[in-house]
């Protein structure tokens, strides 16, 4: 009996020693299986969340909502036919680190274009080194000289090329002083939406900017004109100066010296054939003695003259600085009547270092000439000579800009003259941005002279650059030292001492 029990016990022992192994194997299979299942579920959830809910669950908390297209662009995209397909190609690999590059403002916004276009806009990144055929695919005739890093918008076989630098207004003063690019305004959406609008509308004009008479560039003016559907080129002042036949708008921006006789004759001829001309001069140290005789000769044919003085405001309600050379000007009531139909309406502009612009009132002429901006009734003109500054003329209202045309002609010439570059200079536009009234008025003038209809451009507001600047008065050398001492030295040191103390107390436990 006892032997039988022993055998039975041994047999039980054997079976119980086998059972844990089989359970361990089952558990092992269960463990591995459950982990694999969990990974599969997690991958599936992530694919679903990214693919289906990724866009609705992505929010733009940036300053100025810089990564989100505005309602103006959304409305414009919504108004496109459903079968529209616009292709945006970045000629680069999408940067993995966007920090401190222009793409920080471009790539997330383009993602938003694609996400909110309902398939009408696609965005892709193709590095020409990896995809050499992309260049010939986009520009088969090699017209545009596509460069790596730029963006191409393609619609119906037509393309628009956008360089990242076109998308920003740059601090011109900083650029001149330190040769470094500091963006002051984010125009990414403005540039891209208007490039799309231009392609969609088929609107195409050509503007020329006269160069060689000034130091400053006209980058901002070029950006504005491009956004209006206008190609921009420059014509260098030379002995062979000629205005091309395809010129729809001629611009002379901030000359320091007078135009040459050759240029004068060319512009006169251009205007006689119904040309459109925008001229902006100012009063600076470089041109204070310049009376622009040749330029005035041209403008006189359009009933306008730029006087060789500087406007000085004396009314404190208009003055923007103590000197009176920077001031507000109010828009002439006659022009306001005209502006309700042809120009966008504004009531005041900022003007600084401005030359007076006068209407000649040629008797018996068929001109329609209207002053645009005017000073208060207390302004004066000042003449600058080697002997010093002298007052010229009685206190009164002086005009700082004017419009002139000859109505009734089939090809009517039109001229807009600004006695200041506060409408057109890179310096002004980089300081005040594209949403400033002066700049918006210039856009309005260019749009009017180019004959652009509203479908060729979209009035997208530009945005400021994310500004994390601290109060300059509070950030001093002393406060920086305090920050260094507290955050980088004291706090870590306190915790290290505490660590040493705890270690010392517990090392023998």
């Amino acid at each position: 009996m006892s032997n039988k029990n022993t055998v039975a016990n041994n047999s039980n022992f054997r079976s119980s020693s086998v059972r844990p192994d089989s359970r361990a194997n089952t558990l092992k299979i269960y463990s591995i299986g459950s982990v694999i299942l969990l990974i599969a579920i997690v991958v599936l959830i992530n694919i679903l969340v990214t693919g289906l809910l990724g866009d609705p669950l992505t929010f733009d908390f940036s300053a100025n909502s810089q990564n989100t297209i505005t309602t103006q662009t959304r409305d414009y995209i919504d108004s496109m036919p459903d079968n529209t397909h616009i292709r945006i190609v970045g000629l680069l690999e999408r940067p993995s680190n966007l920090q401190n590059s222009p793409y920080e403002y471009i790539c997330p916004l383009l993602d938003d274009y694609e996400a909110k276009s309902g398939g009408k806009i696609t965005v892709e990144y193709k590095d020409p080194e990896l995809y050499p055929s992309i260049i010939s695919e986009l520009d088969p005739n090699n017209v545009y000289n596509l460069e790596e890093g730029s963006f191409v918008i393609q619609y119906n076989g037509q393309i628009q090329v956008i360089s990242p630098l076109d998308c920003f207004t740059i601090d011109e003063d900083y650029l001149v002083l330190y040769n470094a690019y500091i963006p002051t305004s984010n125009n990414v959406e403005y540039v891209f939406t208007n490039a799309i609008a231009r392609l969609m509308s088929g609107f195409n004009r050509k503007a020329y900017i006269i160069t060689g008479l000034q130091d400053d560039s006209s980058t901002a003016v070029k950006t504005i004109l491009n956004a209006l559907g206008c190609d921009v080129d420059s014509i260098q002042v030379s002995d062979s100066f000629a205005i091309p036949d395809d010129c729809d708008l001629l611009i002379l921006n901030g000359p320091n010296t007078d135009i040459t006789e050759k240029v004068m004759l060319a512009i006169e001829d251009y205007l006689a054939n119904g040309g459109k001309f925008i001229c902006a001069v100012n009063f600076t140290d470089f041109n204070s003695k310049e009376s622009f005789a040749n330029l005035n000769s041209v403008l006189n044919t359009m009933n306008i003259n730029i006087d060789p003085y500087i406007v000085k405001e004396n009314d404190v309600n208009y003055m923007l600085d103590d000197s009176g050379y920077s001031s507000l000007v109010s828009v002439n009531s006659t022009f306001l009547e005209l502006s309700t139909t042809d120009f966008e309406m504004y009531y005041t502009f900022k003007n600084s270092y401005t030359r007076p612009v006068s209407i000649l009132n040629n008797s018996g002429s068929s001109f329609m000439s209207v002053a645009i901006g005017g000073t208060s009734e207390n302004a004066i003109c000042v003449k600058v000579a080697d002997s010093g500054v002298t007052q010229y003329g009685e206190p009164g209202r002086y005009y700082t800009s004017a419009y002139s045309t000859i109505p009734g002609l089939v090809n009517k010439p039109e001229v807009i003259v600004f006695g200041t570059t506060d409408f057109t200079s890179d310096s002004y536009i980089s300081t005040y941005g594209m949403n400033d009234d002066n700049v918006k008025f210039f856009k309005s003038c260019a749009r009017y002279l180019l004959g652009a209809d509203s479908s060729a451009s979209v009035d997208v507001p530009t945005r400021g650059i994310s500004d994390y600047a601290l109060d300059g008065e509070k950030v001093t050398e002393t406060s920086s030292t305090v920050v260094l001492a507290v955050f980088m030295i004291s706090i870590p040191l306190v915790f290290l001492v505490a660590a040493a103390f705890v270690y010392e107390k517990r090392k023998n436990l």
Binding site: R23, V35, F61, Y131, D467, D471, S479, M488
Partner: protein, 255 residues
């Protein structure tokens, strides 16, 4: 779970580990903050997103002792002999480590106050980057806990966690190398530049899909993506579950 959480959280301050981790984090955060402050512009989101790079140092320090220390002292047996769910043990330790991160982060909150009081900006974008920082911390802590549960040597645990987190951090580099390699191989086979580029892009996209740093880099610019948070949370759940299975395995293999 609360008992485990409380014990482990206080344990960080009964040993030098918590203080050293806070000291290192404070120094790094202070360095970035001071650099920005001295330049006159402070972007807290930029600072917080930059601090992600230091998970590779901080997380192994915090998690190396979580399980390894218990194993070394033999107190690990308490998990198996007391009526406590093993997942509660894992969750308690995980939350304790995350709470330590929250304590470390007080430093950054103070920096936010300094920024605002000096005329700087702290907006929704900055809070978004703080949230994603904690989700990434949760993810890497779960990696560190798994490393700690695999052996009883704290140094080895720390090294394993360091290597794993470093691998995550190097995914973008790995993807670009893999892309070049696949490019070259496919080009040798097909002699087609664009086919090789597409193959390279494909492999890079797959690797980048797994890269938490790439998924969360847009938070720096104020983009708040819930899918990135879901991804971090998913990875954390996977590693916590594997840690739980590792402990569970021991329970059965001991019987």
């Amino acid at each position: 779970m609360y008992a485990i959480f409380k014990r482990d959280f206080l344990q960080y301050f009964r040993s030098p580990v918590g203080y050293v981790a806070i000291a290192i984090f404070s120094f790094l955060a202070g360095f970035i903050f001071y650099s920005q402050y001295a330049s006159g512009a402070v972007s807290i989101s930029s600072e917080v997103i930059s601090l992600r790079s230091f998970f590779v140092i901080i997380v192994p320090i915090i998690t190396m002792s979580s399980f390894a220390e218990d194993k070394k002292r033999g107190t690990e047996v308490l998990y198996y002999t007391t009526p406590v769910d093993l997942f509660s043990v894992v969750a308690g330790k995980f939350l304790a480590a995350l709470a330590l991160f929250a304590v470390m982060f007080i430093n950054v909150f103070v920096q936010m106050i300094v920024t605002v009081s000096n005329g700087g900006k702290v907006g929704y974008g900055e809070w978004g980057s703080v949230i994603v920082f904690f989700f990434m911390a949760a993810m890497f802590i779960s990696v560190g806990l798994l490393a700690s549960s695999l052996n009883d040597n704290q140094i080895i645990s720390a090294i394993v966690a360091f290597v794993c987190i470093l691998l995550f951090q190097l995914l973008s580099t790995i993807s670009s190398y893999a892309k070049s390699a696949v490019n070259a191989v496919v080009f040798i086979i097909t002699q087609d530049v664009e086919a090789s580029a597409k193959a390279g892009d494909g492999i890079a996209n797959v690797i980048n899909w797994l890269d938490p740093f790439a998924r969360t880099s847009d938070f720096r610019t104020g983009v708040f993506s819930v899918s990135a948070l879901v991804f971090c949370l998913s990875i954390a759940v996977i590693f916590l579950y594997i840690t739980y299975r590792v402990l569970e395995k021991k329970r059965w293999s001991q019987s």
